[in-house]
Symmetry: C2
Subunit: 138 residues, 2 copies
Amino acid sequence: MGCRDARACDAWHLLARLFFKQRAHLPTVGAELDLSPAQIHVLRTLEPARPMPMGRLAERLACDASNITGLVDRLESRGFVRRRPSSSDRRVKVLEITASGARARAMLMERMAPPAVFERLSVREQQMLVEMLGRLLD
Amino acid sequence: MGCRDARACDAWHLLARLFFKQRAHLPTVGAELDLSPAQIHVLRTLEPARPMPMGRLAERLACDASNITGLVDRLESRGFVRRRPSSSDRRVKVLEITASGARARAMLMERMAPPAVFERLSVREQQMLVEMLGRLLD
DNA sequence: TATTGTTATACTCTATAACTATA
DNA sequence: TATAGTTATAGAGTATAACAATA
């Protein structure tokens, strides 16, 4: 009845639980800037000084490319994000976060990672967690 | 421009990235059983032999209680979940996963935690990850 | 008077398919 | 012929507010 790899299933389950637990703060945090949860994830994914084609953003958010158009439309109209033509392929539009968007992003990230949660781990453990999550993402 | 607690922000960011990466498989996995991503998370949250009031499920999924009604309606009509009256409070309805639901759950969990991902960590590291995530969830 | 679950409503997200402009 | 982004559409999720039953 269980999974073949019980530890992997446990890990995924706990990971999802922690994500939902933190996600509970998204509506409150987003309300201050009038940003929906999905828009917050766009800002989170668009790291400053790391432009990203729209298609790649769709991959990272695990959604269809057609969703990105509308999400970016509203963020762009509010000055948080910019569309740039790609220099190598004229079909591609590259997304950049603006200075204003980067400020909003930093504020959002900070609210989403309340020290009260992650301080339950020692500094050494926090480093290990970050390193392990990074390896799972490769 | 960064967060006050950079490590906590990194951890939250990586956590969200990993969640989205795994979530990319949800539509494919769910399609086999005709389950939406949200319905999959209901089944994942409802661990076998651990009945849960509807309100508590709403908390765990970080959504409004009114959403749970519809989600559970469809899962119940397909025999994956049961509503039971609470013995102590007649306002409360307790949710149980059925035998059929538990089989679907095990299949989903296995597909969502492909060994190819978690095998990038040693057994010792997997144990530590599970232990740390558990502590973050307390 | 407060709480649990439900209903009705409106809004957003989401995938699908068809379209354009490039490649 | 294939790909990146857009548009139109319909379906599902979501929060809000009002409601019934119970505490």
